[in-house]
Amino acid sequence: MQREKITNRILTVVFTVLSLAWIYPMVMILVNSFKQNTAITTGTAFNPVTAETSAGIANYISALTKQGFAAAFGYTLVITLTSVALILVCCSMCAWYVVRVNNKFCKALYYLFVFSMVVPFQMLMFTLSSLADSMGLNTPYNICFIYLGFGAGLAVFMFAGFVKTIPLEIEEAATIDGCSPVQTFFHVVLPIMKPTYISVGILETMWVWNDYLLPYLVLDSTKYKTIPILIQYFRGGYGHVELGPMMACIMMTILPIIIVYLLCQRFIISGVVSGAVKG
């Protein structure tokens, strides 16, 4: 008992330190976003805000108005919503099919999905950009199909893990009650899988919202900027960086995601556990 208590205490201290280490950069950005540009240098970055260095909310206003933040926010929102919706709908159905019709093709398909999580994005990005151009998938309104391809691996893996825990008898009862496979999915399977939908949805949202590379490679940057790309635009020519507005922009980017995550936190953990352990 004594040993357990000591172990617990040590672990608490270790994890507190780690948590602080993780939060620290964000807090720094938050603090610096209220400073004037000149006050954010390598030397003074860690100083707190004082009356002289404070820029008030000027940075935020500048970030919002200078580079078309509203448009970028709009595009990012569209891309995220369409991609996540597509992933949730397609991957859940695919996972259910793969698990229930357990023939050789489905097994091969499942392993392919899992393997696709291993392949790094960098291997594909060159061919991807030319392919996206030729297929016309280079606007914010249809880049969701590319996100579907990349996000399917994790989504199918997690959904499949959860579907395996649904007793087959419930679906058999639905069949006897008169459901076609489609009706079985929507009336019986989908409601049971709600927690997994939420957790997969949040993970995919976090990924798509913050994604820089894919929109940068595929979208025409002059026409369609997403927020991560926009942040880069605070780097002017000749290496001059407007750090203040950039910090403000970063804060405004991560704030929605943090709020969504905090609201849905417990669903993520339960979803990942049930998906991963049973997988």
Binding site: A173, T175, I176
Partner: protein, 402 residues
């Protein structure tokens, strides 16, 4: 309500293709996992199943795990394909008809209630899919709920119910459908012992209220005996015997059925049947039993001619009576175990290597003619005259064919 006919039903689970090793090595033989027949085509789960279930009859399929009873039920339901044979419901061949069109309702072992719906929605689901008028649905659901005593749970979700309540909801879901056939797959197995006894009695009451055709699967012979109009005993995919509970109990067709039906199990011992003209005697190294005249006639009629036949004899514990020590024709055994069940005592006595179980009423203790039941004590007993069952040693079939 309907008549169901199963003709030569067979179910084969096809073999997975054995992998060919490289360099011409022979592939490993698939392990034999059970006693089921393994043919070239695959594992035969159900062999040559023939049965006619009459309208409004309650038929119980009973047997040990892996005997094919659940597989047969699922074939009737349409959840498994029938490899060969015909399934007819009301004269119509339904082998290829989808489950929802067979007009059947099934109660699963784990109840299979939809967890996201309330009890009311669970019971109304099938009617809702058929787009029945909501008022009609309401009427049917409430009447079924009243029959089963679950009206107060209609707004609850399954996770807020106990096992017995969930089981009633599952049955209610079946009743609401008003099907031709009720199929039940071990519905009482997930309940605790006391609740199981209660629900068994309730099922009997329910059966008379609903008055439908029931096909019930269980591994518990007590359920089979109490619930069934007729019992089908199965083993390793084969049907062993079909008959009323009384027939199966009094005239088991083979050793397996004799041992499976009846609690405690029938006592078996090796013996030799000796024929002496028209009368027979059962001889063992330690004792001899005269066979009753009625049974002798039946044996003769069944063509048991040989002077000596090796048999496995059986005697039910309830049909063994205590006698005074040393009485003529009595068998002496040494008590090995004595189990007090309350109103009766189960005494296990060893006779020449064979263990006999006797069921003795505790009220008989004082009149037990001097014998007691401590371990190592002698106990003297006799079979009731017509109590002995005789089974061929090799074929295990009852010598007396009905």
């Amino acid at each position: 309500m309907a008549e169901i006919v199963l003709k030569n039903i067979k179910k084969i689970y096809p073999n997975e293709k054995t992998k060919k090793h490289r360099f011409g090595k022979k592939a490993k033989e698939p392990e034999k996992k059970s006693n089921l027949q393994v043919t070239d085509e695959g594992v035969v789960a159900v062999q040559d199943f023939n049965l006619t279930v009459h309208d409004r009859e309650f038929v119980v399929l009973v047997g040990p795990s892996g005997c094919g009873k659940s597989t047969t039920l699922r074939m009737i339901a349409g959840l498994e394909d029938i490899s060969s044979g015909d399934l007819l419901i009301d004269g119509k061949r339904v082998n290829d008809v989808a489950p929802k069109d067979r007009d059947i309702a099934m109660v699963f072992q784990s109840y299979a209630l939809y967890p996201n719906m309330t009890v009311y929605e669970n019971m109304a689901f099938t009617l809702k899919l058929k787009k029945v008028d909501p008022k009609v649905i309401d009427e049917k659901v409430r009447s079924a709920a009243e029959t089963l005593g679950i009206t107060q749970y209609l707004d609850r979700k399954p996770k807020a119910l106990s096992g017995g309540q969930r089981q009633r909801v599952a049955i209610g879901r079946a009743i609401v459908r008003d099907p031709k056939v009720f199929l039940m797959d071990e519905p009482l197995s997930n309940l605790d012992a006391k609740l199981r006894n209660q629900m068994r009695a309730e099922l009997i009451k329910l059966r008379h209220k609903v008055n439908g055709t029931f096909i019930y699967v269980t591994h518990d012979q007590t359920e089979a005996m109490t619930l069934g109009d007729r019992i089908v005993v199965m083993r390793d995919g084969f049907v062993q015997q079909i008959g009323t509970p009384q027939e199966v109990f009094n005239h088991p067709s083979n050793l397996f059925v004799a041992g499976f039906i009846g609690m405690p199990q029938m006592n078996f011992f090796p013996a030799t049947l000796v024929r002496d003209g028209a009368s027979y005697q059962l001889k063992t190294p330690k004792f001899t039993v005269d066979i009753a005249p009625d049974t002798c006639k039946k044996l003769a009629a069944s063509g048991v001619d040989a002077a000596e036949t090796d048999v496995t004899a059986g005697a039910r514990p309830e049909q063994i009576e205590l006698v005074a020590p040393g009485e003529k024709g009595a068998i002496c055994g040494k008590v090995v175990v004595s189990e007090l069940m309350g109103a009766t005592v189960h005494v296990h006595a060893d006779v020449n290597g064979s263990e006999f179980v006797l069921v003795i009423n505790t009220v008989d203790f004082d009149k037990s003619k001097g014998s007691s039941f401590g371990i190592g004590d002698d106990v003297w007993f006799k079979f009731e005259p017509d109590a002995v069952h005789l089974f061929d040693k090799e074929t295990e079939k009852n010598l007396i064919q009905a």
